[in-house]
Symmetry: C2
Subunit: 213 residues, 2 copies
């Protein structure tokens, strides 16, 4: 929320006044996965200057997008959580993620992948109508799960009972762009799975992304 306005009676302009500043939508992205503490947010956004994080959180709170709550003792932890109003930004974040993912090349050494990023990547690219399945996705230390039930998708952190396990290695791009050929991925060592090559293909079909341009 800049003090600067665009001077336009326009939903787009208003939205950008509220969440258009640097880092704001990435904070929202991580909070869409779940409530977080200050330190968790820093961990998920290592390059954010701490003063900017503090400022953004105050702005988002002032704008009614985020609530700051102090947990009861003994934890006493301070937790940041999206309000319903803030959570309604999910459509915006998913649309941005869908569009931007097409421009992702191979994973570079200066780029990180966090659990929150993976969760939102799957939510971004989910294709309704994919066949029912349970996936558990491993990437390094990161473990997330996806539960597909026809038109509904649930993606969250951690493992999932009874899921097919997919283990991915960098380069991860084919995974996030649906360009997986199961048999080839297995053979090349790009991925491992507790299931079959067909499982990889189904997974790829459930999370497609178009070509860069």
């Amino acid at each position: 929320m800049t003090t600067k306005t665009y001077g336009q009676y326009c939903g787009v302009a208003r939205a950008l006044e509220l969440v258009g500043e640097r880092w704001a939508l990435l904070i929202v992205r991580d909070l869409l996965v779940g409530p977080k503490r200050y330190t968790d947010l820093r961990a998920g956004l290592p390059k954010i200057p701490t003063n900017v994080l503090a400022t953004r959180l105050k702005e988002l709170e002032a704008a009614g997008l985020v609530v700051r709550t102090v947990q009861p003792r003994p934890s006493g932890a301070i937790v940041y959580e999206l309000t319903g109003y803030g959570a309604d930004l999910e459509d915006v974040v998913l649309a941005l993620g869908r569009w931007g993912a097409r421009s992702l090349g191979d994973l570079r050494p200066d780029e990180i992948i966090t659990p929150d990023i993976l969760v939102m990547a799957l939510r971004s690219t989910f294709h309704r109508g994919a066949r029912k399945a349970k996936y558990e996705l491993h990437f390094g230390d990161i473990v997330i799960h996806a539960l597909i039930d026809a038109d509904n998708l649930t993606v969250g952190l951690g493992p999932l009972e009874g899921a097919v396990i997919l283990e991915a290695y960098a380069p991860i791009a084919p995974l996030l762009t649906g360009a997986i050929n199961g048999a080839a991925a297995l053979k090349s060592g790009l991925m491992k799975t507790s299931g079959t090559a067909k499982d990889l293909d189904h997974f790829a079909a459930a999370f497609p992304i178009g070509p860069p341009a």
Copy 2:
């Protein structure tokens, strides 16, 4: 496109690196309505500093979102146009517009409304399945039209043959948030129409927006 990156292998982060800077998405918004000249963009975004506009256009062109073409003589005009890649941002802009429009209050004297804003507002809030209709919307000097054909919407600048004419006056908020009661709007002088109160109600039903929070 900042030289600064977020350091994340994430579609949202990548998208924000490309169009996250101030004014960028408002330029895209206006170009989504149609190709424009430098001066047209300035007219639609009066508060943008001219050097910022020039910089953004170069960045958008370098990123492959916009093409700069010189029209053949005698016009010789320089026209900026979205590429397919850039036009794919429509989902993002519409989602932002939908979310942000809920936070629009009454029109303030320091806020302007342009034809492009109105066109994108209607595209943002269109509700598929609205009944077939042709509307011509007047607001001050601005005239735009909407053609609804069940699941398809065409909104553009200027008049439309055979359309129901809706003339709106500030405060315009009820119009853009679907909170119109046709009879009341006619009686209060908020709107005039060449049709009936029912036409206003149908129009409002076609372009609904939820409450602020």
